[in-house]
């Protein structure tokens, strides 16, 4: 069953069809929440809340429009709500999450496990707003206009926050090396679809 048919059935009230949506987007939503909160339990709660809310508002979803962006908007609102209520100290990273995934140990990996851990912790050290921009851009692979709509920012704001975030990450991970050739890939592809 494709996404459109699933949505149609969901809108008729068939809860079972919602499984198609959950199976399709659950991982991405969970991962996004985890990147933003670095707390597995919290991320699970957020994803559940977001999907329950999505089910309840499924009739408001306009068929044929971007389901992924719609779900991400609901998710981000949940994340923002939760994070707003908690002080930073209350959000403790769970320790198991500090371990790099075993895939980083592969011989042909572009980055090493040690680098992965450093990047992960650098991402988490970003302030909440630039972190949202980075996670949506690179993890959820959303375009700048999509991010702007989801977060309610201007596109220029998204760009400048991404820029500052990248500079900060660059500084933390890889002190500038003027000899290295630039790799202009990610930010150019604003119109890129997944």
């Amino acid at each position: 069953m494709d996404e459109n048919q699933a949505i149609k059935l969901c809108q008729e009230g068939h809860q079972a069809a919602f499984r198609v949506v959950v199976d399709q987007y659950g991982d991405l939503m969970y991962g996004t929440a985890l990147m933003m909160t670095r707390d597995r339990m919290l991320a699970e709660d957020i994803v559940q809340d977001a999907l329950v809310l999505a089910w309840k508002s499924i009739k408001k979803f306009e068929a044929g429009t971007n389901l992924r962006a719609w779900l991400m908007t609901i998710l981000i609102n949940r994340v923002k709500n939760v994070m707003r209520r908690k002080r930073p100290a209350e959000i403790s990273s769970d320790e198991s999450y500090e371990e790099p995934y075993s895939s980083y140990n592969a011989l042909d990996a572009v980055i090493t496990a040690e680098e992965a851990v450093r990047i992960r912790s650098a991402v988490h050290e970003l302030a909440f707003e630039p972190r949202q921009a980075v996670v949506l851009r690179f993890y959820a692979e959303m375009t700048v206009p999509e991010i702007a709509r989801t977060l309610g920012w201007k596109e220029g704001t998204v760009k400048s926050r991404l820029h500052r975030a990248l500079r900060q990450l660059q500084g933390v991970l890889d002190p500038p090396n003027p000899d290295q050739s630039p790799a202009p890939v990610l930010l150019q592809e604003e119109g890129m679809q997944r």
């Binding site: 919602f18 499984r19 198609v20 969970y30 329950v52 992965a116 990047i119 990248l166 890889d174």
Partner: protein
């Protein structure tokens, strides 16, 4: 450093990092189940979803109460109310008054006429007042309480209270004010108790217990949900030829009561009707047809999957030794219960074949052997006809004695059957049913099977009667009339006794390229896992000669379906040789090419019977099915001369009776 936003050297690594993280991060595997669970919790708080089982002994009274409640609520549905508080939906004392919001603690919420009626009823005058109260929290109806009061000859006011969603709440309410036992007509309470009950309900002091009480008479096995074919294309269930739920329902409706929803098993409605499948020379024939449901507005298909067992002549049936175990406890004296038993055995004796033997055990507080298995029909009938109902019940002792008789008279290769006839096995001795059920199961493997025959509606224990027959590899029937006795023990006797397939199962696999979602209507307590289909050690269903087993599926096809709808598989064990066979039939899309009105009459009647059962059990999938439409389908068949079967005519009458009793089926929250 280059200030261009596009040239951070970190980016390739960052990109790889996020790709890897994305590939490795997975939501909990049970994410959807958790979401479903949360949605279910919220539904159950919302009001109409029936969560609790009926408490023992009060089913009939509550059945009446619920009918009344639904009528009233429909009548009062124009009242709108939001926020928190209490609402009187209707008060029969306030003529033309649709009710209104109640302020707690501001005196009696009742109309002055209703208040005045209470002492009049106390003085012996017959009055009937109806008050419906809802407690509403944040726009959600938490409780609806209906109080019916009427005075009578007793001189005391009588009130029966019931509550939706939970009838149990009414009992809890009654117990709170010191009423442990509720007689069939309601319970007697004083004016003070009456107001105390209302006060507590209004003050929200009565809370439904979270678990259903022990000793329930009917078990709620839930309603199968729609399943996404992509996620799970396969359904598997044990065959079931029982019809007790239908005849029980007929008994309830004809006595003016709405059956408790838990008493409804859709498959036992469907299997009551003659399916007119073509005769088969193999053990089983498989039959499939479908049409778009005229009862739903979403274009769903109703697929009929039917299996018919080969029929055999009476003379070809194996010789049987039948050990009857007959309940002669006091309650069997009520109505014509014992009389139905006598007529049933009379019918059976008239249809025996040469060599069949019958023995009889009776049980009240103790059990006795009345006659050892004999071919002397006259002797059997004179013993049975002299039975009288007297004292209390000891079903376990009766059954154990019946089994002892069957074992002593066991003939290898013959039918060796114990037949329990009772108006309900409320308990089976001190040890609880599990030990007995286990013994019955083991003895069935040794060749002594058990059938259960129910009579009478009062303290009827449907759950145990069905479990006993399931464990005993026999069948469970319910007899409400002499003609039902004739049907079962006359023409139906061969099928009742001669099993042609044991451990019989049906599996239907749907094609995800054609079917978006599927739902098996009924067979909830016969459900098996996909793997159990080919596991021949799993206990499944026994099917008698000439019996049919039919299931209705609701299907939503894809907008652009390709390929077959699916495949039906049947697997069973030959009871004599122990050989296991499996047959299959592919189902292509052309089965659904026929319009509902031009489909076989038996198909239409079966679809109506299934939907009727769904309405009676308040299935949430049937909220748009109306009894009028069901009756209309049968009327149309009748006027075109296609309704020739007396059972179908009777179905029409039952649907109209249910409608008159106020049955509406599932009402979604907030409507």
């Amino acid at each position: 450093m280059n200030n261009d936003t596009n040239s951070f050297p970190i980016e390739p690594k960052l990109s790889t990092f996020f790709d890897e993280e994305r590939a490795e991060t997975h939501a909990p595997v049970d994410l959807f189940d958790r979401i479903e669970e949360r949605l279910m919790e919220q539904d159950s708080k919302r009001g109409w979803t029936r969560v609790f089982s009926f408490a023992s002994g009060h089913g009939q009274m509550l059945g009446i109460g619920i009918a009344a409640a639904l009528v009233i609520m429909v009548g009062a549905s124009l009242v709108t109310f939001s926020g928190n508080g209490f609402l009187i939906l209707g008060d029969s004392g306030a003529a033309g008054n649709p009710g209104g919001q109640v302020t707690v603690g501001a005196g009696s919420p009742l109309s002055s006429e209703t208040q005045a009626a209470v002492p009049r009823a106390a003085a012996g005058e017959t009055v009937v007042q109806t008050v419906t109260v809802q407690r509403v929290l944040a726009d959600q109806v938490l409780q609806t309480v209906v109080v019916l009061e009427s005075g009578g000859n007793s001189g005391a006011p009588i009130a029966a209270a019931t509550v939706t969603p939970s009838p149990w709440l009414a009992l809890s309410a009654a117990e709170t004010i010191g009423l442990a036992n509720i007689p069939a007509g309601g319970y007697a309470i004083t004016q003070e108790q009456y107001y105390e009950l209302l006060r507590q309900v209004l003050a929200g002091e009565l809370v439904a217990p979270l678990e259903s009480p022990s000793g329930t008479f009917f078990e709620n096995y839930g309603v199968n949900p729609f399943t996404t074919t992509l996620v799970d294309p396969i359904t598997t269930f044990a065959m079931d030829v029982d019809t007790a739920s239908y005849t029980l329902t007929r008994g309830w409706l004809n006595s003016g009561s709405v059956p408790p929803p838990d008493a409804i098993r859709v498959e036992e409605f469907v299997n009551y009707f003659d399916q007119v499948y073509p005769d088969t020379n193999d053990t089983f024939g498989i039959n499939v047809d479908a049409a778009v449901s005229p009862f739903h507005d979403d274009g769903r298909l109703l697929l009929r999957v039917g299996v018919n067992a080969e029929d055999i002549n009476v003379g070809d049936r194996r010789v049987a030794t039948l050990s009857f175990v007959i309940d002669t406890s006091g309650s069997m004296g009520r109505d014509d219960r014992l009389e139905l038993v006598k007529r049933s055995i009379g019918e059976l004796v008239a249809n025996l074949r040469t060599g069949d033997r019958i023995g009889v055990v009776e049980y009240g507080s103790t059990a006795r052997r009345l006659i050892e298995p004999t071919t002397d029909k006259g002797a059997v009938l004179s013993v049975v006809n002299s039975l009288v109902a007297r004292d209390s019940t000891n079903a376990e002792e009766g059954l154990r004695l019946g089994y002892a008789m069957a074992e002593e008279n066991f003939v290898p290769g013959n039918i060796n059957r114990v037949i329990l006839m009772s108006d309900g096995v409320a308990n089976v001795g001190e040890t609880g049913p599990n030990a007995l059920l286990q013994d019955i199961k083991e003895t069935a493997q040794d060749g002594i099977t058990l059938s259960t025959v129910g009579v009478g509606l009062g303290n009827y224990n449907d759950v145990l009667m069905e479990q006993l027959a399931n464990n005993g590899d026999g069948n469970y029937v319910y007899i409400d009339t002499v003609s039902e006795a004739t049907r079962l023990f006359g023409n139906g006797l061969t099928g009742l006794l001669e099993v042609v397939a044991a451990e019989a199962k049906i599996q239907v696999e749907f094609n995800p390229e054609a079917v978006a979602m599927h739902r098996l209507v009924g067979y909830e307590n016969r459900s098996l896992t996909t793997e159990e289909f080919r596991d021949d050690t799993v206990d499944a269903g026994e099917v008698g000669a000439g019996h049919t087993v039919t299931a209705i599926y609701e299907l939503r096809l894809l907008d652009d379906p390709t390929g077959d709808i699916g495949e039906v598989r049947v697997r069973y064990t030959n009871p004599d040789s122990g050989v296991v066979s499996e047959i299959a039939l592919p189902v292509d899309q052309s089965v659904a090419n026929v319009a509902f009105d031009s489909a076989a009459a038996a198909y239409q009647v079966t679809a109506v019977a299934a939907m009727f059962a769904e309405v009676l059990r308040e299935s949430p999938h049937t909220s748009d099915v109306s009894l009028d439409e069901l009756a209309e389908t049968l009327n149309r068949l009748s006027s075109s001369g296609r309704l020739t079967d007396s059972r179908s005519v009777e179905l029409l009458e039952l649907i109209l009776t249910a409608k008159a009793l106020g049955v509406t089926g599932y009402i979604p929250a907030g409507e």
